[in-house]
């Protein structure tokens, strides 16, 4: 069975073992040296033991040799006993000191692990104390703190994303359930009793409207999801060409609403997905005409400014709050009741998703006289530059 020891015990043990080893070597060496010097030294012995003898009397040779031998053995035995005692004392002292020192060295690490244990997903604000000498442990503390910073930012990002996703799902559910409720209630109420033909026809018409609305919402959600994944194929496109075609096809609708459509289309090359970019411009133009007023106008401009391709669409219309202008790109946000028409509230979210997928920045300003001023600036390299790179 393996005995698992704490780092502190292991450090203390290692320290003690080192002291014990060195001490033992020292004692052994001393013993050998002493024994050798005792062997070599000539010994003159006299007997001081008989008190009556005024002068020491030399011993006879055999007795003297015996005594010398005994004395040497005594000295060596004494030396080894005392060495062992000293070694034991030193080792015990070393063990105690080692335990204390190991604890002191490991204290910052204990602080780090205690902090890490206190931290949870809800509370990531605490940080590890950084010790004053800029040693390896201070470095470790700083590294851990840096990692905690990154985790905290990551968790905050994730939470924000989750919140917006939950919001989106709730909105999508709401948008899909409302027409479904209309359909269900229309059928339940109309078939409760004996409906006349005209009642049945009205019900069928209302159901068709609700189904159409659901279908538009679903289409919008799918387009939005597709736009968020980004371009599936990318090549050089000129926004001026796309905008020109869209403006041409929208002229009739604009005229029907008495809205004047003006274009200033300078070359605006970009690398991107033509289908998505076409959808983006079409949605913007569609909104600009839909939320306009009779006698109003829409201007579409494409250009390259400061090396960035840009698209600018301005329209007249009802006054918009600056707050509202910011929120218009969120899913299912529509104008107030009465002006929302038959939109499903996803058009500008799709615009936002497509622009983001093409590295475009959107700015949306409420015009002082009413209406909106939307510009999108793209940071992607122009096709010419991209051509040179590849």
């Amino acid at each position: 069975m393996r005995v698992s020891l704490s780092a502190r015990s292991r450090l203390a043990l290692l320290y003690t073992a080192l002291v014990l080893g060195t001490g033992a070597a020292l004692a052994g060496l001393t013993y050998l040296l002493v024994r050798r010097s005792l062997d070599r030294r000539p010994v003159m012995l006299a007997d001081f033991r008989s008190p009556e003898a005024a002068t020491p009397s030399p011993l006879n040779r055999t007795e003297a040799l015996d005594t010398i031998e005994r004395l040497r053995a005594d000295t060596l035995t004494q030396l080894s006993t005392q060495s062992l005692i000293a070694l034991a004392v030193v080792t015990t002292l070393a063990a105690a000191l080692g335990w204390l020192i190991a604890g002191r060295i490991l204290r910052p690490i204990r602080a780090i692990s205690a902090t890490a244990q206190r931290l949870s997903a809800e509370n990531l604000s605490e940080r590890v104390p950084v010790t004053t000498p800029a040693d390896e442990l201070a470095n470790l503390a700083q590294t851990v703190n840096g990692m905690l910073d990154r985790i905290q930012t990551g968790v905050a990002d994730r939470d924000r994303l989750l919140r917006s996703q939950r919001m989106f799902v709730a909105n999508a559910a709401h948008e899909l359930r409302t027409p479904l409720t209309t359909v269900r209630t229309a059928i339940d109420v109309t078939l409760d009793g004996r409906p006349s033909t005209s009642e049945l026809l009205t019900m069928a018409r209302d159901i068709r409207t609700a189904v159409d609305h659901s279908q538009r919402t679903l289409d919008g959600l799918l387009t939005l999801a597709r736009s968020q994944t980004g371009p599936s194929r990318s090549h050089g496109v000129d926004l001026a060409d796309l905008a020109g075609e869209i403006a041409a096809s929208a002229t009739q609708r604009a005229a029907a609403q008495q809205v004047e459509l003006a274009t200033t289309l300078l070359p605006a090359p970009i690398v991107g997905d033509p289908t998505l970019l076409d959808r983006m411009i079409a949605n913007l133009v569609d909104n600009a005409i839909r939320y306009n007023q009779p006698g109003g106008h829409v201007t579409i401009t494409t250009d390259v400014a400061d090396g960035r391709t840009m698209l600018h669409i301005a329209n007249t219309g009802r006054p918009v709050d600056p707050d509202e202008a910011d929120r218009l790109f969120e899913p299912f946000v529509r104008g107030p009741a009465g002006v929302r028409g038959d939109g499903v509230g996803l058009g500008l979210s799709i615009v936002h998703a497509i622009a983001s997928a093409h590295d475009g920045d959107i700015s949306c300003l409420a015009r002082p006289g009413g209406g909106l001023d939307i510009s999108i600036r793209f940071t992607k390299p122009l096709p010419g530059h991209a051509g040179e790179q590849t």
């Binding site: 559910a173 229309a186 109420v189 009741a337």
Partner: protein, 218 residues
Amino acid sequence: MRVLLVEDEQPLAGYIAAGLRKHGCAVDIAMDGQTALDKADITPYDVVILDRDLPVVHGDTVCRKLAERGTSRILMLTASGAVEDRVDGLTLGADDYLGKPFAFTELVARVRAVGRRTGPARPPVLRGGGVVLDPARRTVERAGRLVDLTPKEFGVLEHLLVAAGAVRSAETLLDKVWDEHADPFTNAVRITVGTLRRKLGEPPIIQTVTGAGYRIEP
């Protein structure tokens, strides 16, 4: 029963109102939160059916204000049917909660259940003067014989039976059984009571209390 329906989806509001009228409720419609509060100021509705996502004033605010007044029972109606939303709705003071889409019969049953809570507890089936009225099945029986009534006649009879012998004025009946489009100077109540008496047959159970209104001896 007088019901205020607050719902901003035009066709849906029309169908719910039509369905509830078939079941003998007098229904007014408000398309936004502010209109709902204004209407509830004027008429003491028995039940307010409240959509949560309303323009102008949000449904939550309307719910809180109506609950503070305490005159009407509130049935919340919403497309976000998550548990938290239901808990939120009930916490705001709603008496009941129904998620969209719903079966219309369930809505009617809940409106009736919530409406019963106005005033003292009342039985699901009403009896009085030998007449048995079942609001859920919308049937009226007199001495074992089924009586076919229009929604208005049914509403008047239901109200008089709920009063359990107390007098109900023509104005109260007009308030509770007819919606806001009723002409306050109409003699609709008198005419409806007349046809109701004829349909219920002999012996007459609805008494006219001169200068006060009508009552049914329990």
